[in-house]
Point group: C2
Chain length 330, copies 2
Amino acid sequence: MSKVSLEAARAWVAGVFIGNGARAEAARSVAAALVRAEAEGLKGHGLSRIPTYLTMLTSGKIDGAAVPTARRVRAATLAVDAANGFAYPAVDLALAELPAIVAETGIAAATISRSNHAGALGAHVEALADRGLIALFFANTPEAIAPAGGTKAVYGTNPIAFACPLPGRPAIVVDLALSTVARGNIVAANQKGEAIPEGWALDTEGQPTTDAAKALKGTMVALGGPKGTALALMVEVLAAALTGAHLAFEASSFLDDKGPPPGTGQTILVIDPAGFGHGAFGERITTLAGAIEAQAGARLPGQRRLALRQKAEAEGIALPADLVAKYGPA
Amino acid sequence: MSKVSLEAARAWVAGVFIGNGARAEAARSVAAALVRAEAEGLKGHGLSRIPTYLTMLTSGKIDGAAVPTARRVRAATLAVDAANGFAYPAVDLALAELPAIVAETGIAAATISRSNHAGALGAHVEALADRGLIALFFANTPEAIAPAGGTKAVYGTNPIAFACPLPGRPAIVVDLALSTVARGNIVAANQKGEAIPEGWALDTEGQPTTDAAKALKGTMVALGGPKGTALALMVEVLAAALTGAHLAFEASSFLDDKGPPPGTGQTILVIDPAGFGHGAFGERITTLAGAIEAQAGARLPGQRRLALRQKAEAEGIALPADLVAKYGPA
């Protein structure tokens, strides 16, 4: 498979979405996010999403014509309405407006409602960290994790992302879902007829299972058990209850054409490290990073992603052959 | 052991601290926190802390005369200086000032620097939730957890607490440390000469161990492995780097008279659910709670703590016999 530059890949992906009814600016936003995730090795949020996004777009679960709007409600708050379009243009809008707000207030938040799959969250918080800000991102996703002691999924895999600037170096980026593993691992094991490790999933009775088929009918295990489930509740409150979005168990799938728009939510918190009256942040974070990197085998989170991105920037990425056959080359 | 009312217990505990040099208001704040934790069954943050707090007080690791100060730096930020006194009066100061700020700004944050052991964090966030606010609390603690792939502790057990209002009912409260278990469990196993389960701790080589003595020389395992370690980094950044505090590996122990004041940090985030322009929060959180409680065996986090507190309010709590022998009865 021959590779194309990231710029060419973005133009090609945008063209596919425009050709299927998305407005140009939204298509470019989606293309940038998918190509970035692909370049960073985050395949589940990369070009593999194109077919499901197109399915959602053509079925109306994603409104390709939607234009997100933002309203500053209080001094430090922004309410963004993704209007049942793609999530990425709404995230872009929040990321564009938050830096000016936080410069005044020291901390600020944007909620995103009537939203959709927000992809690799690390890229969103990294964009704020690249502007010298600390950022947190909370998203809810369709049901996956049962409450502690329960058997039916109430929470999504509810990811948390975090980034902060590190003087003179790339930002530190954390991006994790609160399930022990991504559901895609169970789907893959089921397709191969393989067992899954204990600790990944529960069956419909709430019992641990190593049977991938039973796991797919059951629920995902939160990392660390009840503590992880409590964190999933926290994310559900911040990403969905606070934003007025659909709760995980009310949201339709991100992966098919069934039902109304998912209508999930996201909340972005941004903090100016200089907003608390001392100049110590740069020295403190540098000292912390130094203590981690001084240990053989330890490294800052996000380093693999960063290395893959640099490689992809130099070498390009491959486009999916089946889609190239259908839509033509880049 | 006869029990005394919570009010009598608070007065007695405050008297002990005043008798050992703490100013009265600080002593009352500490007493309220320790009695509350004891009443809620959180023994590790309850009256068992009195001897170690006294050791720190008399050695100067806690300045009993310190008066915390707060400075509003930006529209939505408050910088609190605990001045190497107890943490609780500084937390009280932040909790007193944050509601008026967040009413203007929709989201606000307080950093606390030159701080100390902040005890059971659930009580702090619950106080804000009782005022209709969503609250998050991040604290760093002396070194306990190694970075992923490393062998030396860099992070503390770095707790996260979260609370939100639930209309017509007690607030939902989450309070968890990012270690798989509290270190006290390993100390107890070591004293009894018992093995610990795999997954609690690593030895000095970074290998899993079931030997409690080796575990005490090694590091604590973060919940969920590398993901939990990444969350510990996030908390370290928010609680220490942002506040200009000592990092976990720089902080002296909360439990002895050795070294300078711990100088750890805490960050409190508070969000007004009404600050994003829609009135849906109350309905959304009620619907979420209903979906959890509809499942046999599932319950909202914090229910056990709440039940124990109600029992203690009715029946009182026991004071430590050795301290009563030394300081007299309540």
